[in-house]
Symmetry: C2
Subunit: 216 residues, 2 copies
């Protein structure tokens, strides 16, 4: 409620007052993938203290970013979802994710990946111009540990969601972070050779994937 003001009449300052507190944009990131219950949010953000999550949700609700909804009977579950205004943070979060992905580097001890992270990572790095150029229409299934997401590239459009997809054109199984492949450090062939990736496709498929979802 009394989020400290920056004392500036400025869009950036106002945005930081609304979603600039610790954890807030990560909550928004997960809600951009879809509405969630309190426990789902906790599961996606294991390191957030529960009182901080409760506080953030209240602040975001009061800021008009998040709406708290009680599902109809018999479920009666409490669901958090983005308001239309909150959903407009899409471009902000994608731009932030694109920028931050360049600093990802190696997987640090204790760091986790979730389905929501994978979904947003694919959305943020997608390059419609490159997909359009080849008039691509490809479906990918991406596996990382026991996480599974799929991406449907169609001309310049992209759809990403959790879970498997029926008859994907290419299945990519990552044994570790794909950043070396996606930032051009290694190519598809090397990714296969080092065992970073296995796939039912070819090295060329991996290279095309890296073209569509580059880091940088």
């Amino acid at each position: 409620m009394t989020t400290k003001s920056y004392g500036q009449y400025c869009g950036v300052a106002r945005a930081m007052e609304l979603v600039g507190e610790r954890w807030a944009l990560l909550i928004v990131r997960d809600l951009l993938v879809g509405p969630k219950r309190y426990t789902d949010l906790r599961a996606g953000l294991p390191k957030i203290p529960t009182n901080v999550l409760a506080t953030r949700l209240k602040e975001l609700e009061q800021g008009g970013v998040v709406a708290r909804r009680v599902e109809p009977s018999p479920s009666r579950a409490i669901v958090y979802e983005l308001t239309p205004y909150g959903a407009d943070l899409d471009q902000v979060v994608l731009a932030l994710g694109r920028w931050g992905a360049r600093s990802l580097g190696e997987l640090r001890p204790g760091e986790i990946v979730t389905t929501d992270i994978l979904v947003m990572a694919l959305r943020s790095t997608f390059r419609p111009d490159r997909a359009k150029k080849v008039r691509a229409r490809v479906s990918y299934e991406l596996r990382f540990g026991d996480l599974v997401v799929h991406a449907l590239v169609d001309d310049e459009s992209l759809e990403v969601a959790a879970g498997p997809i029926d008859k994907p054109n290419v299945v990519i199984e990552a044994r570790g972070p794909l950043s070396p492949l996606l930032n051009g450090e290694i190519d598809g062939e090397a990714a296969l050779k080092t065992g970073l990736v296995t796939t039912d496709g070819t090295a060329a498929d991996l290279n095309r994937f890296a073209q569509f979802f580059p880091i940088q």
Copy 2:
């Protein structure tokens, strides 16, 4: 030093670790307009405690976002500027400013406006598509209190900088925040009639300005 980790291998999380602390993105916002000395930064952010500014600058430097440079003799001034990586936050800050501008509302007591804020506000709200459609080539001088910035709209490109411009096509003097005009609450004629704006141009000029730099 080691800003607390979110424990997630995610571009958004990494970005928040680098620039997510209080005040950090406002420092970046001002540095996006141009390199600055410590005292300039303080002047642009009057409410930041000096120790927090010093700490942020060190963190941003260590994160590869900001570079600290000592000017050659005889100046020897210490200047802070964005690294190329830091400068790539441009799109993030513009997107945030666009989003946050919709919550600006009335000028709250104690809130200030600076030249850097005006420059970034114009950059963030500019709509190249609308400028291109009319093949516009217009120079604006915008005055707000004793602040003066200018904007040069040329087809779909925009240049904004501090200070006056030679022979502007339209001079706009704002007596208060222009958000009502820019978000469509009122039109140019009403803005003139209520005294919110004075100009050497016409109401139509104000309407075109509002088309080029809309909030929403």
